[in-house]
Symmetry: C2
Subunit: 414 residues, 2 copies
């Protein structure tokens, strides 16, 4: 019983029948993917089934070249052909990608990463993140227009993992809970000076200034975001407690009690972690402490080629081991690490729901390609967090040898 197709095969090249080699290639791909519950539907309507499992998803190759491209470079072309509409999916896109990731992971634990994947990962060059490149990369993603992000982010425009201590919470409450969780981990005292590296649309700086009585100096290199930050601080009477600075993290100066960075490390580049640690060391006083919140991973592989090309040029999710470069030589000790991976999955579910509710508006702002690009990005990210290919680490640190520490983390849960 065939599930209905998102789009029926059409067009001149599609009328060509598949040849046996193509059906064998499709079969080989399913085998490489560990026989996931996925049916390949080819452009002439012929079907290739997985061995040993019942198919829950259809991947439809609308045109012949999509199959050949997928075989040549699956990590890049699945996304490209999905966006182009040459591959369509019947079933939940995030669930499909999650299923494939889980199958690959199982296979890998048993057999190691297949040679073709190792090769594809190796040929990609390491991203460079000097200040000029960082500006370009940040502009690429974060300056798409505040009006676009306003459509599907929460009211405070927080574009990082929320925190759902009660899983039924809505996105607004979970973003507030995240900011309170960060504040509690930092043990903020009224009047303290906080420096924030990479402040996005300023949600955290406003929250900390308003509810914790601290002074925040917030750095960002996205002009659009800073304009928004400054306007909201003015509107909400927080101008005297928050200073926004258009500068790279390398240019942070002054003396602070607390260093906080939520969702910036992904864009810093792993070759720069020790330098960022030196900045933290330079600007923090003798009782200095801080928190780094970042997407991470278990192994230390580059982001997939599709997301690097279309969504986050120059981004890299570090392993916990790599994050330690921030602290080791700069005289800090790690106090607490919390993995909020499932919270990012939940956040993405909320974002996707809102994004789809506003898809027509997004299409009117940009075009259908943009909608499909973002749909693929958001669902792919959700799949990555569910399958554990991505993690979310919140790391709390303090000056080495600090004696004034709480005797338990119970205060975070009171």
């Amino acid at each position: 019983m065939a599930a209905p197709l998102e789009k029926q095969p059409a067009g001149s090249t599609n009328t060509l029948s598949t040849v046996p080699l193509e059906r064998r290639l499709a079969r080989w791909m399913l085998q490489q993917l560990g026989e996931p519950p996925v049916r390949f539907v080819l452009w002439d309507g012929s079907v290739v089934l997985p061995q040993g499992s019942k198919a829950c998803f259809d991947v439809v190759f609308q045109r012949r070249p999509a199959l050949w491209r997928l075989v040549a470079n699956p990590l890049l072309h699945f996304g490209e052909d999905y966006v182009r509409g040459d591959i369509t999916v019947v079933g939940d896109l995030a669930a499909l990608i999650e299923t494939i990731y889980r199958g690959l992971e199982l296979r890998r634990i048993r057999e190691g990463r297949p040679a073709w994947q190792r090769l594809l990962l190796r040929v990609r060059s390491a991203p460079s993140n000097d200040p000029r490149r960082s500006r370009h990369n940040v502009h690429h993603h974060y300056d798409l227009g505040n009006d676009f992000y306003r459509l599907w982010l929460d009211e405070e425009m927080v574009y990082t993992c929320a925190y759902y201590p009660r899983p039924g919470m809505d996105l607004e409450a979970a973003q507030r809970a995240k900011m309170d969780h960060v504040a509690a981990k930092l043990r903020l005292q009224p009047g303290e000076r906080v420096v924030e590296a990479g402040c996005g649309w300023g949600g955290l700086s406003r929250h900390l200034a308003r509810h914790y009585g601290v002074h925040v100096t917030a750095y960002n290199i996205s002009k659009e975001q800073l304009a928004y930050c400054r306007e909201r601080a003015r509107e909400e009477g927080l101008e005297d407690r928050i200073e926004y600075v258009e500068a790279d993290w390398r240019e942070i100066h002054g003396q602070f009690d607390v260093f906080v960075s939520v969702g910036m490390l992904e864009h810093v580049g792993r070759e720069n972690y020790a330098a960022l640690g030196e900045v933290m060391n330079r600007v923090l006083g003798p009782d200095g402490r801080g928190l780094i919140h970042s997407i991470g991973q278990d192994r230390g592989e580059p982001l997939g080629p599709w997301i690097q090309k279309y969504i986050f040029p120059g981004a890299y999710p570090p392993t916990l081991a790599e994050m330690m470069d921030l602290f080791r030589d700069s005289g800090f000790s790690v106090e607490d690490v919390e993995n909020l991976r499932l919270h990012y999955a939940r956040t993405l579910e909320h974002w996707i729901e809102r994004f789809e509710a506003h898809a027509d508006e997004v299409r009117a702002m940009f075009d259908e390609t943009f909608v499909r690009t973002w749909r693929f990005y958001l669902n792919g990210s959700l799949a990555n967090f569910r399958a554990g290919s991505l993690q979310l680490f919140q790391v709390v640190f303090h000056r080495r040898g600090q004696m004034e520490l709480p005797w338990s983390r119970a205060h975070l849960y009171e």
Copy 2:
């Protein structure tokens, strides 16, 4: 005003006066140490003062060779001459060592590690920890006799960091709180199978079997400890719920829900972490999870030469980054890291108090050298934890991609 000396200079060589070079050497040592508030009292009664700070401690060189040895290899000979009685200390020994570590750390952050320290650290060879060597090393320390450890450990004979969620707790309560904290982090369900790598005198295995209804298989290579474990399990009617196995961690086999190891990783050797991760992978089921509790450090330097020679041959406290070798390739994700450094300092304070209360009995069991060796070891460890040269990491992990996780850590504090 001179503080009273622990032991007055005496003996033929000591009647010799210091020469100017010796006073300059003593002065140079104080300078190298960052001018701590320490007064050097030489064998002829002459005194060398630190610059810029008031002395709180006297380090007394009872005999001339002690000064020359200290200059030649301070990391080894301070301990050796303290134990021999050729160096004595007026003031709190732990506080003295802590002060010196803090001074060195400050100086190092400013200037990097001095050349003489780098040289000393480099010439030490990396310890090897093959199974035969592990047996020898463990025997060296843990088979000193259960009667000795019984004098100053808690009633459950737990020889690892306790947990003081309320700082006024006594040692017994804090060891129980640690075991409950570990159990809560592991989310134990009655009937689950737990494997423990390195079970000491069995305190944790008894606690988990008794209070959490799990079945524990506990591995150890110390004969004395295992004999004690088996006897207590028999006495307390826990024989059907705990199995003790005399074998190395490499020999762990079977299938379990939970892997736990408290205070063993320090003896595993960093070159073996990936192999230990493979053991964890092999014995844990699809919902497998675990906890590793280990002394650690921020940087990745060998233990001091004195403690390696006299206390823990082959031991190494890993950095958090190094610990990640346990999880990365074996298919686990880190869920939670808690640094309990100050809890180990408090534990050591309690151990030292009890050790000193029983010093006469220890002397009768062994001799004065043994008492001074252990005094130096316990106080030196306390100083290391206070100053932040040592940390204590509790790392919780689970199978990558696990979806059944608690939404917050609040359950640990209920």
